[in-house]
Point group: C2
Chain length 527, copies 2
């Protein structure tokens, strides 16, 4: 039995581990052949040391070097498209097309290339110059970054290819990728591409490294190690909070993206106006990828009445008519079931689904639950349990005030949506709810479901705790996502020839924006 190698310090080597694991095809519940190691602490420590050596070697490197790597990497990924798509399909159950081949993979290479463009341009570092005081500052690399990828985006959030990876590299850091156990082979193919690109662009050997799995204890030791710079984690809340606690105690910046139920408020006149259209949008958003999106709309707030009843009935029929998709793993299936059970225990009733499906091996029936607004307000914490998958909860309020109170009771979320009448008939209610919802979510939407997360500089894929660990930061959207993996570096009275190029009088790059004496400019300045 051959155990798959880990990528440490530029070499694919046999792990010293005796513990292994295998991925499972969630559509069939069959074990996939390759055995992957659970890396022991000594191995993780050698990874950290190699990453630290790489960080030291790269001190002062220009963004061009990282841009060259990122672009070479995107091209190496494209060479491996078929293998990535087929492997990810096996490991996740997601359809090869359009999801993996036409959606997520181009998004991933696009993110890497956007990161390259910004690494080269350098504006992300926000060079800020005070010519009178003789001070300049900019964001610079922070050191080795550990990225823990989630199960639900095997490409676009992969620990060695996704948004955190791209941002950490664009900031000039080495990355230690901790692959997700449910798609190790996919991650390995990315790592082969990354390794090839790193060698082709002469990056240090410890620049990109991959381990597949660690014990929980060793995960905490990794994120709190003195040589680490920062941590990116996307995944479940419990594991995330454990990682956060360890990193916080060691003073390591940790960026989490955790669970979010993404409330959608559909105001009464919008429902009266276009209920069929909204029902269809909602079904599409909630069942896409079997609901396994960070931004899945898991709570829909409505105002009681005939229109709401009819809407729920329409959605019910759509959910019953739609096939149950694959869930990513047995763990996801169990988590889904226990989430549904918890929401029921907290007082919600089933509208449809709730049980097994006759679909793929790991799957559950498309599920809808319902609870009254007054009941929700009595037990808001338990009714905000995330059932990660193809489910949502209707909360039906009796009054406008109750709808607003529901917004007041929400935990921090990535997104919040309000559908309102196009002619303005809902506007006074909108004006009550929107300011409340605004403070609870990172992204406020109108008349649109939350599942699309555009890779745009204006995007915020972040939000108040517990949806993330810190509401100033976004994990999607370049350049802002890059800041997370940086530190602010100020130069006071430093001799001009010793300054980083971005702080010197001559703008090193016509695309570079700098904030000089209170003005954003692409011009040079006089020393």
């Amino acid at each position: 039995m051959q155990i798959q190698p880990v990528l440490i310090n530029g070499q694919w080597i046999k792990s010293t581990s005796s513990k292994t694991f295998q991925a499972v095809n969630p559509a069939t519940a069959e074990l996939l052949a390759p055995q992957f190691p659970v890396s022991p602490w000594e191995e993780i420590e050698s990874v950290i040391e190699a990453a630290s050596a790489a960080a030291n070697e790269m001190r002062g490197w220009s963004g061009d070097r990282f841009a060259a790597f990122l672009e070479a990497y995107a091209a190496e990924i494209e060479k491996r498209t078929d293998a990535l798509v087929q492997t990810a399909h096996q490991e996740t159950g997601y359809p090869e097309s359009p999801r993996l081949r036409d959606g997520e993979l181009p998004r991933t290479t696009n993110q890497l290339r956007q990161a390259a463009t910004h690494a080269r341009e350098g504006s992300w570092a926000q060079p800020t110059i005070d010519t009178v005081a003789g001070i300049g500052s900019l964001f610079g690399p922070i050191g080795p970054v550990a990225v823990f990828g989630p199960n639900n985006f095997p490409f676009a959030f992969n620990s060695i290819a996704g948004g955190d990876f791209a941002a950490a590299v664009a900031a000039g850091n080495p990355v230690i990728a901790k692959g997700h156990s449910s798609h190790p082979k996919t991650t390995q193919i990315f790592a082969e591409a990354a390794d090839a690109a790193a060698k082709a662009t002469n990056m240090p050997t410890g620049f990109v490294q991959l381990i597949y799995r660690t014990s929980h204890t060793d995960g905490c030791r990794l994120v709190s190690h003195p040589l680490m710079g920062a941590i990116g984690y996307t995944g479940g809340r419990n594991a995330g909070l454990t990682i956060k606690e360890a990193a916080d105690k060691a003073g390591k910046p940790v960026y989490l993206e955790l669970s979010s139920i993404n409330p959608v408020f559909i105001l009464p006149e919008a429902l009266a106006e276009r209920s069929a259209e909204i029902a269809e949008e909602f079904k599409g958003s909630c069942l896409m990828g079997t609901g396994q999106f960070c931004t899945n709309p898991g709570l829909v707030a409505l105002k009681a009445g005939e229109a709401a009843n009819a809407f729920i009935e329409q959605v019910k029929q759509k959910f019953e008519a739609a096939p149950a998709g694959v869930l990513l793993s047995e763990g996801v299936q169990k988590g889904f079931q226990s989430g549904i059970a918890a929401i029921q225990s907290a007082g919600a009733t089933l509208v449809t689904g709730g049980g097994a499906s006759d679909g793929p091996a790991f799957s559950c029936a498309n599920t809808l639950l319902k609870v009254s607004g007054s009941h929700f307000l009595k037990n808001p914490a338990a009714l905000q349990e995330e059932a990660f998958g193809n489910a949502s909860l209707f909360v039906v309020a009796e009054t406008d005030e109750e709808l607003t109170q529901i917004a007041e009771c929400l935990e921090g979320n990535l997104t919040g949506c309000i559908y309102s009448h196009t002619g303005g008939s809902d506007d006074s209610l909108y004006d009550q709810i929107a300011p409340v919802l605004r403070q609870k979510v990172g992204r406020l939407l109108n008349d649109k479901m939350p599942t699309g997360v555009a890779v745009s500089p204006a995007m915020n894929h972040g939000g108040p705790f517990p949806s993330t660990g810190h509401p100033v930061f976004t994990s999607v959207g370049i350049p802002a996502a890059i800041h997370r993996f940086s530190m602010l570096q100020c130069y006071d009275n430093v001799r001009p020839h010793r300054l980083p190029d971005a702080l010197k009088p001559q703008n090193p790059n016509p695309g570079l924006w700098r904030y000089i004496d209170g003005m954003y400019t692409q011009e040079d300045y006089s020393a």
Copy 2:
């Protein structure tokens, strides 16, 4: 016996507390008359609720409102100049002039006015617009901010008047000030000025509030309360880490500025070139304010030799000739003494001082210690103990490599300085040390002592843990300092008339910079 009132929800009220404390004049060790309450939890909770109500009331307010308050407040402070200066002199022992009247007070009103300018202009919020995707984002207020001020800047870092206060207000938040116990009357005068300004500018009653002291337990409850937005803390490491742990656990952003020893590397040829000049600069920096600066140079690394010996001797004579200044409190005096003792236990020897002084009641002799580089490298953690006050440690390295290794062993610091020969004779050694030191400090200086912290947009008064809690942020320097008390707020497909003014097509303010489709501009855009 009259107990001084607390400022809660717009009223000066009698605390429900039976516990009180008094400040002490550190120059004479005499108790100052006024009795101040230690607020009990019920009182703190009512403060939090009032702040939360204020935050709700201020939702959507424009920056003008906060600017008007900040400017009115600066003027109210100036009306109270004599009282503030005299009271702070009594409570801190700092000279009325130039320190308090001519230095710190104008700095404080200047910070408030800078914050006002930026609140009005709005560029700090970094409005970012993607006209194609129909997405816009900007930084917005985060909610009630608790500010814990330090002992060493009774004005410029005061919990109700200093940099954190100004930044939190400029971001649009209410502030709960937790005064420092060593200057409660100074803080009270500020609170009277703030209250007058808040009333004159029609701010909500819970907008600025003051409590003087809490138990440690209640301090932790305050920072982790669900209604809180964020926390700013400047002070000692142990209390700061306790606050951080509580806030981290609750997912509340917490910005700490803790201890820092601010290493200064004086390279051999610089010493050969201008040793007398550097000795004088160093003495001035290290003894200013009796060394009670966050950026006090507490470690000086030198290369062994005649020049180093002569330099140490020169500094010794200056330290012995200079009077011992007042230390802020008996606690500071004890902490200083135990810090000096710890550094000696770790192997350093006294060059001068180390004991009591015949000066003010709370004071210690100007102190210098010395240790070899090789010894420092064996015990770097213990030898980086901060002795907050008029002391510094010389670390004398035998070789260039040892100097570089000393830099490698440093904890995170606010600043790091390198003095080198003006003609370039130290440049190869500079090039070894600077990249290492760069990653260890927030602000890198050349040929200049670290104690001056210019209020400049390019300043970084921050640094890697444990000097602060997060190396992306600065506590001095507007606009960057404002971000700490904000959250990123994205608007996706939101109807144009519902957008904040800063995201609408027409730029609401000619001074406002926006990042629109990849360009910084002050122009309008087409929807």
